[in-house]
Every structure is written in structure tokens, then in C-alpha cells.
Amino acid sequence: MSPAPSVASKLYADDVSLLMVLVDTNPFFWGTAAANSSSLSFSSFLSHVLAFLNSIHLVNQLNHVVVIATGFNSCQCVYDSSETTNRISDDGLPAVYLKLLHNLEEFVNNDEKMCKNDFQTGLTSSLLSGSLSMALCYIQRVFRSGPLHPQPRILCIQGSPDGPEQYVAIMNSIFSAQRSMVPIDSCVIGAQHSAFLQQASYITGGVYLKPQHLDGLFQYLSMVLSFNDMTLILHEMQAFLFLCLAVWALTSTCSQMQTVFATDLHSRSVLQLPKPVGVDFRASCFCHKNTIDMGYICSVCLSIFCEHHKKCSTCGSVFGQPQADASKADRKRKAPGSPRHPRA
């Protein structure tokens, strides 16, 4: 018998994981991705995600996976492995994925409707802060139930650019993830690096990865052609067509996603994982939500502003007048390596 079960660790001793996958479903991102032939389409992206989910379930039957769709205006849990049992539905597709695809489609439609109500030009970021908090809440719920719980981690698959207006909310989520020892892994499939996710992975000890060659990930896609008979079935199911294609494209496996992000916390201690090249520690100001290099910081509550104010909008402290000759000295550069805790 293993010694010392007395150490009241409620974590499983093994590699049982609770994985929250945050999937970016931002229509603006995928719309531009579809127009650009070199980047991947939503359906092939989904196929990789589904294969990834399968591989997580494959390695341990106790693994618990939750998929949260991050939309433009909202976010929603579209799949929870603890709620469904896998079986083949009448259509020949695994019922779990039909449900996932169904939920996802519903979600995307709803999200689109909300989009029309308050559409602002220029803002194309996803509601990452929302889905991050949702994931953390879910993890907390799992922590509070049952005698044993799996090791949690969060995987963000993000394509759309950062929304500076979510800076405070996201930073708060990151710090609460750090407090509850939940690593945030990030896989950026968009064009540019995400400063938020770089910071998130850096602070929580997760892995940040921006695959260099997206086409390199999809070397197996050509094999879909050999699945002729299956595509025939697909034609009968017009409703799900664009999503179902995804399921049958599964022969391809996004090798990077699997090899990096399927690594459980247990094995991470002994394996070489991608190291961050550099982390963008820039913050957003609280007044105009712009990403800034230099700015003013309230000495009481550490709020960040891009221009001088008379009074701190967060804590109400009154600032002195900046002296003309000392204005340079007043401007503090945020020291890299020591991100401050902003308070919202």
C-alpha cells in the first residue's frame, strides 16, 4: 500500500486531469481566415480540436474535459465530458460530437444575433476574459465537490487579437488562476502574438505556443480524400455540413497541439516544453484602454493611466500637479519581469 495517504492531498496521485479548452469562435477572425487561403478554416480547426479531445480521453478514462466557446459577445460551455456517455448515434457519428457541434452552432448563432444589436466597428477581439473566468469558476466548483479531484489546467486556443479593454478583467483572472495553481496554456493561431496570453502563461507557469507554420500542422489533411464514403453520408446531413466535415477530417492530427498540450502536469516536470521567447508585459491604461509603453501609475492603488489626471478614477486619491521639468522622472516605466497587480 502506498505510504502517506495521510497527507490530505485531494489531488489524484496520477495524471488525471481536468482540462478546460477555450475555443475562439469569433466570426471576425474566422471570416478573415476563410478569405485567406493560407490560413486554416474553421472546420479543419475543429477537426483538430476534436482529435485532441479524443486523445485526452484516450489516455485516461477519468480525464475530464470541458469546452468553452469564446465568442465575440458571449461565451458558453458547449461540451462537458462528465455529462455525456459516448455512443454511436443513428447517424453514425459519435453522439458526443453531434451534441458539441449542435451546441456550438446554436452558440455561434446567438452570438451573431447579439453582435447585430451593438455592433462597433474596429473592435474584433473575443470575450476572452469572460471565458477565462467561466473556466476558473468551473474549476472551483470541481474543487469543492467530491473527495478527490483531478489536476486542472486551462488551454486557450485564440485567434483573434487582444482586446485592450479587457485588460483588467483578464489580469484578474490570470492572478486568480495563479493563486489556485491552475496553469494556463495558450495556443495562438492568429497572425500576431497575444500579449495577454503570453503574460497568462508566463505568470501561471503554462506553455505559450504560436505555431510557426500553420500549413505544417495540417500535413495530414490530404488524407481526408480517402474518406469518400463518409463524405457521402455528410451530404445527407446538410444542416451540419460545415461542422461535420470537421469530424471526418480527423485523420489529420495537429501534431503540435497533441504533443505539447496533451502533456499532463505530472509529466511536465520531466519533459522539455517550448520556452517563451519573450513576453510582452505591456499593460493597458484604465482610462482609454490603450496598450501603452509608458504611463502614469497611481501610487496608492497602482492603477495605470496614459495621461495625467487630477484624481485617480479607481481609488479617488488626489494627484499633485506634474512639474514641467520633473515630468520625465514622473513617468515610470513598468519594470519587465514584475507585473503589478491591477485592481479593477
Binding site: D14, D15, L58, I88, S267, L271
Partner: protein, 449 residues
């Protein structure tokens, strides 16, 4: 820990002991591939996933590059396991003196398929139209536990079991082998192993029994590989769903009756058809991960005054507690006892170690006290260990006394002769040596003369 382990840690050790031919044949069944993969250490799983889409052998050297500096021992364990189970085959190039590894192609193909289609069930459950009134999951679990306890009681003490399961007495004899010892005309007595068996958690006990069942299968003319593959397949059925018995082969129908007696499945009879419902015990079969993965609700509270309250109505639990404590009284849902020196001495005499008792108490701690650290009061655990070491205060050892040495020189050289010296008195020139080196010493002294 000093005690002998009476079980191989899990089923997979048995699988790996199968001959290569049989093992390769087993991998044709996708469920076995899945179960094997899940049983591997985490790092090994990772390697399999990494190799899943690689068809060429990979150099051992390049695999080592995946590692951080301090991960080498885990790497070695993982690779050994993979090679042992023939999931990886080792290819060594004698010319370049390089070793490389390749994933078993059948295994690889099955897992690739799994990634595409997801995990599917081995057979379709029956529709609820035919099988009305399926037991609820709680009922099923209660049924499984009751069945298992009944089996255990019968195993330990045939007279005590209220009702006898249908397991043939010859099968029972097989299970009892090693756990009970029977001298002529005496009631069978639990052996040291038997006590250890009782203190294990249900999963470990189940493994032990299943292992005996399998290793005995050849005698009954059943192919062990078939049996293993059926048991693993069974563990992938959904708990609480009904499956038609007619989908089983003749051979499997035979086995399922035995499994029903162990509480792994519940058999039910409808008007026309009959079906089996796998219980939690069955799904735990492929959970060979760690001891902790299926910890049950504990029931024991130990106080600092050595009194013990066990919230349980189970006869089996009472019997187990009686092994090392004095049961004082029993209420419908509560057993009250005390851990005393006498009761512990009885336990030690029966071959139970202090560590086993402590780990039993800790593992079965009532949820209220399990949250505390330590869950069993320290003074109690310390005292149990002290009482055990009390018994070991005097160690017996055969020895020989030498005296009347002819001279001091001879005496001193004899003292330096070997490490078997236990005691010496240089004034009176006397020494005591260990029994086993007596012959050497005698030889040596003869030559000195």
C-alpha cells in the same frame, strides 16, 4: 515497508507476462490497446501519443532530447514498460551501435482509429423498452458491494456467510489458497497473507482475486488471453446499462456467471431475453492506475484516547477491525472499539504489521477526520509503532563463544579475522562470533596453531 506484497501491482504485469504471440494477438482488439495505454505511466502514455503518427523508428538518442535533465529515471521506467508490453519494439543497429524504437503497428493503427472516431462502446446497450425497471446506479453499487462482501465473508469464513454464492467450492479453494491455511481437523486459519489481503482496498482485493481466477483458467481449459481480453472489454461497458447476453460467445456466457457472483455484473432475466448490467467493480477493472484512484468513503474515527468509532453496519468491516482492536459494542450503524496493547499483540502475532494497521486506519478515515492532518492522531500511530518495536527488542541469533586463547596475538588476530564478531572481552580473552562464520573461524584458529 517490510511486508511482502502478495499481489502484483496490477493486471498489466500479468498481461506483460503473456508470450509474445498472444500479446500481439491481443492488440488486435482496440479495447485492449486502450486499456493498455491507460495503464501505462504518464510519461509512457505521452511517448505513445508522440509516436502515434510516426512510422519510422526513432533513435533512442533523439528521444532523450525530449527530456529535462532530471527526468532520466522516469524515462527509463517508461521505456522499459513500453518494451515489456511490446508496445515499442527495440531495433538495435549493431554496426552503428544505435538503438531505436518503433511503435507496434497494430497498436498504432487501433489508436489512430480511436482518435478519429472517439471511444465507442463494445456493444450496444439494449433499449429500455425491453428492459423495464433497470436498477438505479446507487442500487447497483450497493448490490455490487453486498455481493463482494458476501464473497469475502465466504472466503474467510464459510460458516459466517449468510447465503452462499454459487461459486463452486473448487473455485473457492483456489481463491483461498495462500490466504487460509488449514491443518488437519482444525478450522481454517487466516495466514499472514490473508490478513494483508483483508486490509487492502476493494480494488486491490478484486485484482488479487481476478489474478487468481486468470492464472487458474488454464487448468479449467480456458485460454487466459481470451479471458483477459473479455475482462478488459467488460470494463469498457457503460455502468448501469443492460446488455444482451446473446451477444456473448458461449465461453463468455460461462464466465459471466462467475463474474456475477463476484458482483462485477448483475444478471437479469426478462420475459424472453436475459441481460447483464456491469457494475462499478467491472469498470474499475481497467483502472489499474494507482491505489488512490478509487478511494471509498471512509468510516473510521480514531480518538487520541485510543478509542475507535466505525460508522459501518457491515459484518466484514467488523471482522476486519476485530483483527487488531477490541470491539466493545455494536450499534446498528456503529461499531465501537478500542485499540489496546493486547489486541495489537494478537495482530502482530498474526503477521500484520503496524504500518498496515496505520495505513488501513488512514485510508478508511471518516470524511470528517480525513480532512485533518494527520487523520489518525499522532500519539496513536506512534504508540502502535512503539508496541510493534517492543516485540522486536530482542533479536535471536545463533552464535559461538570462544575462550582460552593460547596467546594475546592469536586472540587479536582472531578478532580482526572477519566481520562476524559480535562481542569481545580483551581482558579475559573471550569473544562471540556469528554462527555462520564458526566454521571459518575454527579453520583459521587450527591453522594458527
Amino acid at each position: 515497508m517490510p511486508q511482502v506484497r502478495i499481489i502484483a501491482k496490477n493486471f498489466m504485469d500479468m498481461v506483460s507476462a503473456l508470450p509474445a504471440m498472444k500479446l500481439d494477438k491481443l492488440y488486435e482488439n482496440p479495447f485492449i490497446c486502450e486499456a493498455i495505454l491507460r495503464s501505462l505511466p504518464p510519461l509512457a502514455k505521452k511517448y505513445v501519443l508522440q509516436m502515434l503518427y510516426i512510422e519510422n523508428p526513432i533513435l533512442a538518442k533523439s528521444m532523450e532530447e525530449w527530456l529535462l535533465a532530471d527526468g532520466y529515471s522516469k524515462h527509463k521506467v517508461a521505456l522499459d514498460r513500453l518494451v515489456q508490453l511490446r508496445v515499442f519494439s527495440e531495433i538495435s543497429d549493431s554496426r552503428k551501435r544505435e538503438t531505436s524504437y518503433i511503435l507496434n503497428p497494430t497498436f498504432q493503427a487501433n489508436l489512430q482509429k480511436h482518435l478519429v472516431y472517439g471511444g465507442v462502446l463494445p456493444r450496444e446497450p439494449m433499449s429500455s423498452a425491453i428492459t423495464n425497471r433497470l436498477p438505479s446506479l446507487e442500487d447497483l453499487e450497493a448490490y455490487a458491494l453486498e455481493q463482494w462482501e458476501c464473497f469475502l465473508l465466504q472466503l474467510i469464513n464459510s460458516a459466517q456467510a449468510e447465503r452462499h454464492s454459487n461459486i463452486s467450492s473448487s473455485m473457492m479453494k483456489v481463491f483461498q489458497r495462500g490466504l487460509l491455511s488449514q491443518r488437519d481437523k482444525e478450522a481454517p486459519k487466516l495466514t499472514e497473507h490473508g490478513f494483508q489481503f483483508l486490509l487492502m482496498d476493494t480494488n486491490a482485493q478484486l485484482w488479487y482475486i481476478i489474478r487468481e481466477y486468470i492464472s487458474n483458467s488454464e487448468e479449467r481449459g480456458v485460454d487466459s488471453a481470451d479471458l483477459i481480453s473479455f475482462l478488459l472489454e467488460l470494463s469498457f461497458h457503460a455502468t448501469g446499462e443492460a446488455y444482451n447476453v446473446n451477444t456473448l460467445t458461449e465461453f463468455q456466457k460461462c464466465i459471466i456467471k462467475d463474474l456475477a457472483d463476484l458482483g462485477l455484473v448483475k444478471l437479469q432475466q426478462g420475459r424472453k431475453e436475459s441481460w447483464f448490467i456491469p457494475t462499478k467493480l467491472a469498470s474499475n477493472l481497467s483502472v489499474s492506475l494507482s491505489d488512490t484512484s478509487s478511494r471509498e468513503q471512509g468510516f473510521v474515527v480514531v480518538e487520541t484516547n485510543f478509542r475507535m468509532y466505525a460508522y459501518s453496519s457491515s459484518k466484514l468491516n467488523c471482522e476486519i477491525l476485530r483483527l487488531f482492536s477490541r470491539i466493545e459494542y455494536q450499534l446498528p450503524n456503529l461499531i465501537v472499539g478500542a485499540i489496546t496493547k493486547e489486541s495489537l499483540y494478537d495482530a502482530f502475532e498474526n503477521g500484520i504489521s503496524a504500518e498496515q494497521i496505520i495505513s488501513f486506519l488512514q485510508q478508511n478515515a471518516h470524511p470528517r477526520v480525513a480532512e485533518r492532518v494527520p487523520s489518525v492522531p499522532e500519539n496513536v500511530t506512534d504508540q502502535i509503532r512503539l508496541w510493534e518495536s517492543d516485540l522486536n527488542r530482542v533479536e535471536m541469533m545463533s552464535a559461538y563463544v570462544y575462550d582460552d586463547f593460547p596467546s594475546r596475538d592469536v586472540f587479536e588476530s582472531a578478532c580482526d579475522f572477519d566481520s562476524g564478531l559480535l562481542w569481545e572481552d580483551s581482558k579475559k580473552m573471550r569473544m562471540v562470533v556469528k554462527g555462520e562464520i564458526h566454521m571459518h573461524m575454527r579453520e583459521y584458529l587450527r591453522r594458527q596453531k
